[in-house]
């Protein structure tokens, strides 16, 4: 489903949001093609929820264009919403209704008659079947969040915004949700995801955007990003602590861990030969090797790196402007 030729389901041009003197979004531009899982990453207050809010109608944008399914939301804010679903970051629930009634109401809002089969399906996917007729007041925090996800999906939207969908959801269920999101993508649904669990973005995303201070600092395919900026760390653990490493290993960039139990080597993910050379040198030095551990490139390090360099660039820009 996901492909470069797909027309964008979401297109944003120069989106800006100003709260008085504070700029929450700085001319953000972005296109999301159909069938993509797009992860928007950034620290708290970076502008992720503001961006989603401006697209979905919860935030009044100051400037810029947003097109959903080719429709400019300034000209027609209502029509595209039939095809959009949102899981908001803040948990909400209506204490007067149970999950089945909440989902029936949700379908009605989207112009659909109650569909018991679809409701049963989403409740099952969110593992809420046993709570189907329990008042929402009696649901736990995790269950309420799952109900939010069910509400966002029950009308079969073609574009879903998941703003921190798995916060407070236990590990096992989180993995089940990931499978469900993959299934949605396979069915052609486009997913925009914000998350604090970078593992979630690593698992799911086709493309990643990093936002900070209201600026989109980076926009790239996840695999290419991990390849380009990711670092691979190799840790060689010894059977007994070492005082130091031979000079040849130091020249290769290998360092001894503080406790002396491991030799650590970090290289770019694109490098094809570094680890092999290091391992060869370690064997040649006759060090007592117990095992070797390799850590694949992680989004977390990339995020930290991009935020650091992005923050520095912004600070520089502000200095120049001043």
């Amino acid at each position: 489903m996901y492909g470069a030729m797909s027309p964008p389901v979401l297109s944003i041009e120069g989106l800006r949001k100003q709260y008085g003197n504070f700029t929450a979004l700085h001319d953000v531009s972005l296109e999301i093609p159909a069938g993509e899982i797009f992860a928007l990453l950034g620290p708290n207050g970076a502008g992720k929820s503001t961006l989603i809010g401006a697209i979905c109608g919860m935030v009044r944008k100051t400037a810029g264009k947003v097109r959903l399914f080719g429709i400019d939301i300034d000209e027609d804010p209502v029509t595209p919403r039939y095809r959009v679903g949102l899981v908001p970051q803040e948990i909400n629930f209506d204490p007067f209704f149970n999950p089945v009634e909440c989902l029936e109401i949700q379908q009605g809002y989207y112009g659909q008659k109650p569909d018991p089969e679809r409701i049963r399906e989403v409740l099952e996917a969110m593992q809420l079947t046993s709570k189907a007729n329990v008042v929402t007041r009696a649901l736990s925090g995790g269950m309420r969040r799952r109900l939010l996800i069910a509400k966002a999906l029950v009308h079969r939207p073609q574009l879903v915004f998941l703003d921190e969908p798995t916060a407070g959801v236990d590990v096992e269920l989180r993995r089940d949700l990931w499978s469900y999101i993959r299934r949605l993508r396979a069915e052609g649904t486009t997913v925009v995801l914000t998350t604090h669990y970078l593992e979630e973005a690593e698992e799911l995303a086709d493309r990643v955007g990093i936002i900070d201070g209201g600026r989109l600092l980076l926009l790239e395919e996840k695999a290419a990003l991990l390849e380009r900026l990711g670092k691979r760390q190799t840790a060689v653990h010894f059977t007994e602590p070492q005082q130091s490493l031979p000079e040849a290993l130091g020249e290769l960039g290998v360092v001894l861990s503080e406790d002396g139990n491991s030799a650590l080597y970090t290289e770019q993910a694109t490098s094809n030969h570094g680890s092999g050379r290091v391992l060869g040198a370690l064997y040649s030095a006759g060090l007592p090797i117990r095992d070797v551990e390799t850590q694949r490139p992680r989004l977390e390090e990339i995020l930290i790196e991009v935020l650091r360099s992005g923050g520095a660039a912004n600070a520089q820009k502000q200095e120049v402007q001043a």
């Binding site: 709260y19 809010g53 979905c56 109608g57 919860m58 935030v59 009044r60 804010p77 209502v78 029509t79 919403r81 039939y82 959009v84 949102l86 908001p88 803040e90 948990i91 909400n92 629930f93 209506d94 204490p95 007067f96 209704f97 109401i105 949700q106 009605g108 809002y109 989207y110 112009g111 659909q112 008659k113 509400k151």
Partner: protein
Amino acid sequence: MNRLGMKTLLMKEIRRFVRIPGQTLLSPLISTSLYFVVFGSALSGRISQVEGVPYLAFIVPGLVFLSVANNAFINASSSIFSSKIQGTIVDLLVAPLGPFELIVGFAGGAVVRGILVGLLTWLVGIFFAGPSLQHALLTLGVLVLGAYTFALLGLLSGLWAEKFEQVNFFPTFVMLPLTFLGGVFYNVEQLPGIWRTVSLFNPVVYLVDGLRYGMLGVGMFQPWVAPTVLTALALVSTAIVHALLARGYKLTS
């Protein structure tokens, strides 16, 4: 237009108040019964007749109007305010529902509650003062238009309020004086000169008078005055609430 969405919101609003009948239906009924007992019994001994009708019968239309107006107002204001506080307003902001659908849904639910409590109050009035309905169409028109207008004022109040104490601002500082000085318990014509003139600026005077004419066949003004005033108020408040919802007043940031 999203008819099904609108109907869903309307039905949800009705189900919401039906689920707590003690608070939404029974409680206003008890307070109205107390009005009949206290005002009716205490004053009917001193004021035997007003405009040619027994005092107990005279206060029935005003009390019915009070019930309709208060309940329509409270239903709309508490519903939208609690949606804001609970965060469920997001469901409506993101859904394909425009200002028109939101007005029909919220105000429709409030009108149904207002009319329902008004009818129950009327039944209590019939118990105390006997039945009387002179102009059914006018009575129904004033009740529905009155309920709708106060529902919209409730929406306005709920939209504006950001704290719990602000929800009570309109009912306490605007509605209570207007309704109690609106000729519910007395005939405005009996007031001394200046107060009579001041009272004529209170729209509730015309609404109570219209309902009194519809139910009892007696009134100060021409029968068309109340529906005209109510239609004007309904149109103005609809325009204001529509404009505020369209720009997301205190709903979007």
